[in-house]
């Protein structure tokens, strides 16, 4: 038979310690549920599809030492050499490397000579191999022909007339749909640029920025900003990285070569997210452990304090299971009180995080799941002491302890 009323009146007599544990549970629920929401948001952000063959791509840049160095000739020779190497699937040249943290962005308009109301997007200058080299998927139109690719030096005034854009760019700049064949303009300019192709996705150089996913690719090679982007055959990335680095240095020793894998660059972009996930996960584990420890401590303390009382209850006819049930029920009451307080605190805390730190809203299912989890932890923590209490001999009632 459930002893709810006697337990409540016993708890009322020890309300301070019971309330402290309940508050500890409540606080844990408030923090854990909000931490999980942040962890989920960050994990989702990290696992977003990039639209790129991240695992297979290396990028290379060089710093030429001589001032009159013919970069365009070097690009041609380097890329021809790279594409002929074993393990290389494709190679392109670009002014920036996606996911690298370094890039260019501009405002784009559907009408000429506009200064406001445009949409910001990243832009890249690339050669005709860029779709294949980046491992992107062309969903509409075409890529670039070799003839379309311009060489843009510091004094060039020539501008591209065609572009390939990402689907997100197409959807947002041309919300009415069917972006293919349509023209867009740079801010304050009347030079039309026609969309000739659409790629499925490219998160761009700053995956956590507001422009992430909006990308424009021009058929051009710039001698001021340039990176070789090399996609290796699956599983060949590291070997290709080493080989290309060696061959570039071998072909022309008068330059300094820098090499990176796209995976490393992506990891750097998400470093703060990963750190946040690790810190919050540690907080969740630590808090849960502390709350469990608190419950074990309180239950053990109360059982020790009430050893004689347990013996008396056993003498009066309580079975072992009745004793365990008593302490588990007592713990359940404390836990439910704490969880009810914690659920309310979680919402208040979430409101604060949302308004001050732009954190996502706390879905009820997360609070409910955390509440059930903490309830389980609480009962598990009380289980061993409760089972030990059941082993207290009824003869304790007649002892002078």
């Amino acid at each position: 038979m459930l002893e709810l009323r006697p337990i409540l009146s016993a708890l009322w007599r020890h309300k301070v310690s019971a309330l402290l544990i309940a508050l500890q549970l409540g606080l844990t629920l408030a923090i854990v549920s909000n931490a999980l929401v942040v962890i989920d948001e960050r994990s989702e952000r990290i696992s977003r599809p990039t639209g790129l063959a991240v695992e297979d791509i290396n990028s290379f840049s060089f710093l030429a030492i001589p001032e009159d160095y013919d970069k365009f000739e070097a690009f041609r020779l380097d890329l021809d050499m790279i594409r002929s190497l074993p393990g290389v699937a494709s190679a392109t040249i670009s002014n920036h490397v996606p996911l690298s943290g370094s890039g260019s962005a501009s405002g784009f308009y559907t009408e000429p000579n506009k200064e406001t109301g445009g949409i910001s997007a990243n832009y890249y200058t690339v050669d005709e191999h860029f779709i294949d080299a980046l491992g992107m998927k062309l969903t509409a139109g075409r890529g670039f022909s070799p003839e379309e690719v311009m060489q843009v030096g510091a004094t060039s005034s020539e501008r591209p007339t065609v572009a390939v854009v990402t689907q997100k760019f197409a959807d947002e700049v041309f919300p009415e749909g069917n972006a293919l064949g349509k023209a867009f303009f740079l801010g304050g300019d009347d030079h039309p640029i026609e969309v000739v192709g659409i790629v499925e996705r490219n998160l761009g150089p700053w995956p956590n920025s507001s422009v992430a996913g909006r990308g424009v690719f021009y058929p051009a090679i710039m001698d001021q900003w340039f990176y070789y982007i090399v996609r290796a055959e699956p599983g060949q990335r590291d070997a290709v990285l080493k080989l290309v680095e060696e061959k570039l240095a071998e072909r022309d020793p008068n330059r300094v070569i820098n090499a990176d894998t796209m995976e490393e660059q992506k990891a750097q972009q998400y470093a703060s997210d990963n750190t946040m996930i690790k810190v919050l996960a540690s907080v969740v584990i630590l808090l849960t452990f502390i709350v469990a420890l608190g419950i074990v401590g309180l239950t053990v303390f109360w059982i020790t304090q009430r050893q004689k009382q347990i013996g008396v209850r056993r003498a009066l006819g309580a079975t072992r299971s009745a004793i365990s049930r008593y302490f588990l029920l007592e713990n359940l009451i404390i836990a439910v009180t704490g969880i009810a307080l914690g659920a309310a605190a979680a919402q208040v805390f979430n409101g604060f995080l949302a308004s001050e730190f732009n954190q996502p809203a706390l879905p009820p299912i997360v609070t409910i799941s955390c509440a059930l989890f903490l309830l389980g932890v609480s009962l598990a923590a009380a289980l061993v002491p409760a089972l030990r209490a059941a082993n207290i001999s009824p003869a304790t009632a007649t002892r002078s302890v």
Partner: protein, 233 residues
């Protein structure tokens, strides 16, 4: 009512084995009031624990109300304690967090009575011990004698056939002790069998029969006011 034959109880530590009861035999008839005396460490409490099913004997046979209870499991022993035996302890052993009503309610809840039945029984026994007006008081708000009367009420609420009292007046002054003893005698007159462990020879003499335990065995039998049977081991 109670029949012990060659009961043995020993406690073992790493280095020593202590024999608390040795070939202990005793019979108590239904309706008897038996007092148990003996020096400290003689085995009185061990006898009481075994008689009250609080401990199991190491050997021997114990029949309570005709039933062999020597080898019952814990659940069966708990049920028998709850249904057939009432306990009165020297230190009262009331639960300090519960008021008088809830204290008396403890064994009735384990018995599985419904709320209405429990309330009826609690009010009846509180009335019998003269503490109806204090039902909502906590034990700490009562005198020692009143607390022991509550303990007696708790023991009586389940209407046990067998009452075990461990030094029921040990913590009381002489006036309170006399009142409690009168209450026990009154209860015995209703037909409840009582076995009372006491150090007080005056109280012991008021029982129908007094047995003395020395070194874990019944050493003496003294008939007081009513015929009784006992076996000396």
């Amino acid at each position: 009512m109670l029949k012990m034959h060659n009961i043995r109880k020993s406690y073992r530590t790493d280095t020593i084995e202590t024999h608390a009861l040795r070939d202990f035999s005793l019979e108590v008839d239904e309706g008897e009031f038996v007092s148990v005396t003996g020096p400290s460490g003689s085995g009185k409490t061990t006898f009481l624990n075994i008689a009250g099913l609080l401990e199991t004997p190491t050997g021997g046979e114990y029949r309570l109300d005709g039933e062999d209870v020597s080898n019952l499991n814990d659940r069966q022993r708990s049920r028998l304690r709850n249904e057939k035996i009432g306990f009165i302890f020297q230190g009262f052993n009331l639960i300090p967090d519960l008021n008088l009503f809830d204290n008396i309610d403890v064994p009735l809840r384990y018995r599985g009575f419904n709320a209405k039945e429990r309330k009826k029984r609690i009010e009846k026994v509180l009335d019998q011990v003269g503490l109806s007006a204090r039902a909502k008081h906590l034990p700490a708000q009562l005198s020692g004698g009143q607390q022991q009367r509550v303990a007696i009420a708790r023991a009586l609420a389940g209407e046990p056939r067998f009452l075990l009292a461990d030094e029921p007046t040990g913590n009381l002054d002489s006036l309170m002790a006399r009142q409690v003893m009168e209450l026990l005698e009154f209860i015995n007159e209703w037909g409840t069998t009582i076995v009372m462990v006491t150090h007080d020879p005056d109280l012991a003499r008021r029982a129908h029969r007094n047995i003395q335990i020395v070194d874990g065995q019944v050493s003496d039998l003294h008939r007081a006011t009513a015929p009784a049977t006992a076996e000396i081991a």
